[in-house]
């Protein structure tokens, strides 16, 4: 398929990434997921990645629907298991860029085990986690990122559990690139996404996004615009901040920025190196499906 516009009418540059026949999407008015996808499309535009060699894998949930809207080979898998699917796909297609696009509940609750191991192995993939602090698709339940005291349908008296600090968790598991932005920071998010897409190994971006329908409403935090105002007023950019310091509390200040950028050999790099060392010329490297 050609990426070129078919007529002279000006087109939105993001359209070439989108399955336009599926628009309008399912996301609610004011939702932040679409903004992140817009940023992703613009980020891609700034890379040299051939769209035929870009694969997007999602799990289940609101953000899990991203795979269905991007006009590349895309896989909508099972709840929490986008990363292991993407692991097999990334190994099978060393020439491709594999992106996992999913939500906080999918990636860090049901999929937490897979995420930490993919980071440890340094599988060559970019994980974009839209963190809206809730399970949207099922109606607003508590997730591992829901801040203390925030209300969810399954924490009607306010959440009492501690939360994951996503950048810190992912860094400690071995991610080579870690950043966090809110959907207010569209330009910086695009820049980070571009960087992650151009990074070999396990890169991770947390995108803090509003869920007006459930999280905002249930906690009386107003609409999407009010969420963006909060992100604008309370976010501070601290590139290189120690991830241990970037945890979030309920409606607290938000530290955003690029926190980690330290390349190391990927899973396949290490596989090839080790096998070459031990097996010498008996080793036949996997070089992709012919």
């Amino acid at each position: 398929m050609s990426d070129a516009p078919t007529n002279s009418t000006p087109t939105n540059p993001v359209e070439k990434l989108l399955r336009m026949e599926r628009i309008p999407h399912i996301w609610c008015p004011g939702c932040g997921v679409g903004t992140s996808v817009n940023c992703f499309a613009r980020a891609l535009d700034k890379t040299d990645i051939d769209y035929d060699n870009l694969h997007v894998v999602s799990g289940i949930g609101c953000t899990g629907r991203v795979a269905g809207y991007v006009n590349v080979d895309s896989f909508h898998t099972t709840h929490g298991r986008a990363i292991p699917f993407a692991t097999g796909l990334a190994i099978a297609r060393p020439e491709a860029k594999v992106v996992v696009y999913s939500g906080d509940g999918d990636l860090f609750a049901i999929g937490g085990n897979h995420l930490i191991h993919a980071a440890r192995r340094n599988i060559d993939m970019t994980v974009i986690c839209v963190n809206n602090f809730t399970y949207g698709m099922t109606g607003g339940q508590v997730t591992p990122t829901t801040p203390y005291s925030a209300k969810a349908t399954t924490t009607p008296y306010g959440n009492f559990e501690d939360t994951f600090n996503l950048p810190n968790l992912v860094e400690s598991c071995g991610a080579v690139y870690v950043a966090r932005w809110t959907v207010y920071h569209v330009r910086k998010l695009i820049k980070s996404m571009t960087k992650a897409l151009n990074t070999k190994g396990f890169s991770f971006i947390e995108v803090i996004a509003q869920c007006p329908t459930l999280y905002q409403r249930r906690n009386k935090l107003g609409d999407g615009v009010m969420a963006l105002q909060y992100y604008k007023e309370r976010s501070t950019v601290q590139n290189g901040a120690p991830t241990v310091d970037v945890g979030l509390d309920y409606q607290s200040d938000i530290i955003v920025g690029e926190f980690v950028d330290k390349p190391r050999p990927t899973f396949m790099d290490k596989y090839n190196t080790r096998m070459t060392e031990i097996l010498g010329n008996k080793f036949v490297p996997y070089e992709g499906v012919k």
Partner: protein
Amino acid sequence: MKADPAAVATGVHFIDGNEACAEGAIAAGCRFAAGYPITPSTEVVEHIAKRFPKLGGVFIQMEDEIASSICFQGAIWGGMKAMTVTSGPGLSLMMEHVGLAAMTETPSVFVDVQRGGPSTGLPTLPGQQDVMQVRWGSHGDYEVIALAPNSPQECFDHIITAFNLAEQYRVPVFFMMDECIGHMLGKVRIPEANQIDVRERKFTERPPGQYLPYEIYSGDQPEMVRAGMGYRIHTTGLTHDARGYPEMNAQAQDKLIRRLCNKVLDHTEELTLCESDQIDGSDVTIIAYGITARVAAYAVEQARQQGLKVGQLRLITLWPFNDRLIRDVAQNTRSIIVAEMNLGQMVHEVRRAVGDKVPVHLIDSAGGAIIEPETILAKIKEVVS
């Protein structure tokens, strides 16, 4: 096409069923495997892990069976032939991705070296208790193919069959070994590569723009592509239309799910692998599969030496279940004994197919030890007396 001569370990080997299974998978073109250690299946992936780096393949030991059972599907959509290997408890964890493979029509091979269950059960001892789980274990309606080998040689031969059927039918194919077959040492003759038929994945010849991933252009299978061919496909575990896009309503569900089931059920006859022996005019016929069929064959021989008219039907294809085959048996024998290492699973299928035509008896076992030939012989005598 034929197997890759550089990969096939041609020759006569004295190896166990697990190793034979690994070698068969390699001969079939499998170059990716994801697994998690679990007794009594582990030797399959251990052997794969040793062999793959010399063959341009990749084995990855995943963090659990849930991950293994979808990781290999990612590799399949990347264009590789791939499998996962497990036993009962791992199989239970994989069920969600059996459904995904069925729904997305992913040509996937699941090797299940069965042990006694439920739960952790008998890790080192045999069972045949997963027969119904592979058929019904994932939620919803779907069909699978399941094969049960009864020797190390068949572990080699029929894992190749399993891979070929997976490519042909685009369904989950289960290779139902058990602890005894997996650990049984025996002579395995691995033929020359040019004697091994391997079914390559058939990719669509339609150009992008004139292709939909789940459209039926001919026959009852959609045409496959892999990621990276320029088709920009979408797959989903949701009920979907020919484009692979979610379409969630009763009509779309009816159309899709019936097709997914019928593309297997309509080919039951072609899919039936079995061995029948002296059933016509017998007083009793033993129906068994896997290790139990091997034991039963010995008991049948003993019975015949004692002048009894005993037939045997060994099922190699367990699913789809061939009712016609069983009804034919019932036409030509006076009674049936089903022997299986569980408390009665396939016997229900046999009874359903036979109706009240002839009595169907069961020799069961909770697993842990093979059913002894003496037990089968005694039952034969009891039934014919």
